[in-house]
Each structure stands twice: as C-alpha cells, then as structure tokens.
Symmetry: C2
Subunit: 110 residues, 2 copies
DNA sequence: CCTTCCAATCGTATATTTACGATGAACTAA
DNA sequence: TTAGTTCATCGTAAATATACGATTGGAAGG
C-alpha cells in the first residue's frame, strides 16, 4: 500500500461491514465462532484441543475476534472464558441482513 | 505462513463463508457491491469516476469479487458491464443468515 | 493501416496477515 | 517459596493483500 485509504471516503456502514467481514475472513475464526455460538461456552483450552493449531495462533485469532467486537472474554482464573458478544452479534446480523437485502432483483436486466 | 491450512479440516460452509467474508473485507468492495446492488448497473468506467482510485486498482477489486462469485461481467465492447451474481448472492445471503442465526441466546449465562 | 478508447494484466513496492516457538504474566497449589 | 497451569505477548519468517504506474489486448472509427 503506497497510500492509505484515508483519502477515500467511506460510510460508517461500509467501514463497519468490512471490518466484521475481515474478522470472518478466516475459516478458523468461523469455526471458533460456531463453537462459541453453539451451546458450548468455551475456554481457550477447549479450543486448543479441538483445533490443531498452536495455542499462540488461536490466541491471536481470539484477539482478532475480540477487537472486532464479536466475542467477549471473561477472566476466570486460571482460565479465560470466551463468549459471543450478543449485542454486537445482533448488530452484525442486522448489518449483513440489510446489505444482502439491498439487491434489487431485475434492476438492470443482466 | 509457515504451514498451509491443509492439515486442518474445515467444513464446506466454513470455507465458503470465510471466502465470501474475505471478498467483503475491504470497504471499497462493499462500496462497489452497493453500487451494483442498487439500481445502477455499472460499467467499470462509471466506477472509476465514482471512486477515487486508480483504474487498475478497481479492476483488481472487481476481479476479487468475480472470483468470489459475487458479481458477473458482461462484455459489451468496448466496455464491460458488471452486475450482481444473483444466484450466488442469494447463497451468500443464506449462508450468513444461518451463521448469525446459530447463536443460542442464553446458552451459557455470560 | 493507424489511432483511440476501455479494461485487464504486469511489474513493483509496501503493508498486513498468518503461523510458529519462546517467553512473560498471573493465579493456584503444594 | 517453588512448581505448575493457563493464556497473552514477543519475535520472526513466509505468504498474501493492496495500491500504483506502465503496458498490453481488443474492438471501433478514421
């Protein structure tokens, strides 16, 4: 990147959508979210046993999901419990729902 | 990446979701899709005038969206008209819908 | 044939992502 | 205090993504 994106204007929704999409753009993060979204409320340790990746790598992915706001962590020494961030999850659901619904069928005859 | 992801097993949905999410992970691609999803069926030239980026860069983003299957191109010399790929769009919509709906509220009391 | 127009592709430079092992920090238990 | 457990962070290497200008390819028009 020789230039930043700062000289291009994006709407709040465009930035929010792309940020969430980026968080979802790796299959292992989809897998983690699926595990957390299911009934299993997971500790990191459970994730590391379920997913054949280095613990540090999984921790990195969890951090990415945290920063995207899709999950939240709850320290429970000596473990940390991760859960879906319900509020932001609902927001993301709404954003994607609106985005995909915006397609006007038959708009141009392609 | 020192190792490929090939030694980790992902479901078809996990791979499909992450691939679509990756295509959506850049704000300019969200913008392009919004423009195409609206009533305006665009030629590349219109996009380059609407988006302050080099023509080659926009072409690269269009290629990414093409490869993700979200849009389709129609050669109309000397121009090319791009449209939403309705069938895949609907598939993506369904995938994301199911994904976000899979969250079980109250599952773990976080 | 030659030029013009439009879009794709090439070549390149830089930034980010992804993965790993190693180390560090915090708490528990002996 | 001394280990042991759990997870985050650091440091690093390789792959991928992003952006640009320059070039190429193909069709239309002179």
């Amino acid at each position: 990147m020789q230039r930043t994106l700062s000289d291009i204007s994006y709407s709040t929704d465009e930035v929010a959508l792309s940020a969430i999409a980026k968080a979802l753009s790796h299959p292992v993060r989809i897998k983690i979210l699926r595990l957390l979204a299911g009934e299993a409320c997971c500790f990191t340790g459970e994730l590391t046993s379920l997913i054949p990746m280095a613990q540090s790598t999984i921790s990195q992915h969890l951090k990415a999901l945290l920063e995207a706001g899709l999950i939240q962590g709850e320290i429970n020494p000596p473990k940390v419990k991760y859960c879906i961030h319900r509020e932001n999850w609902a927001k993301a659901q709404a954003l994607f729902g609106e985005f995909f619904a915006s397609e006007k069928s038959g708009g141009c005859g392609c």
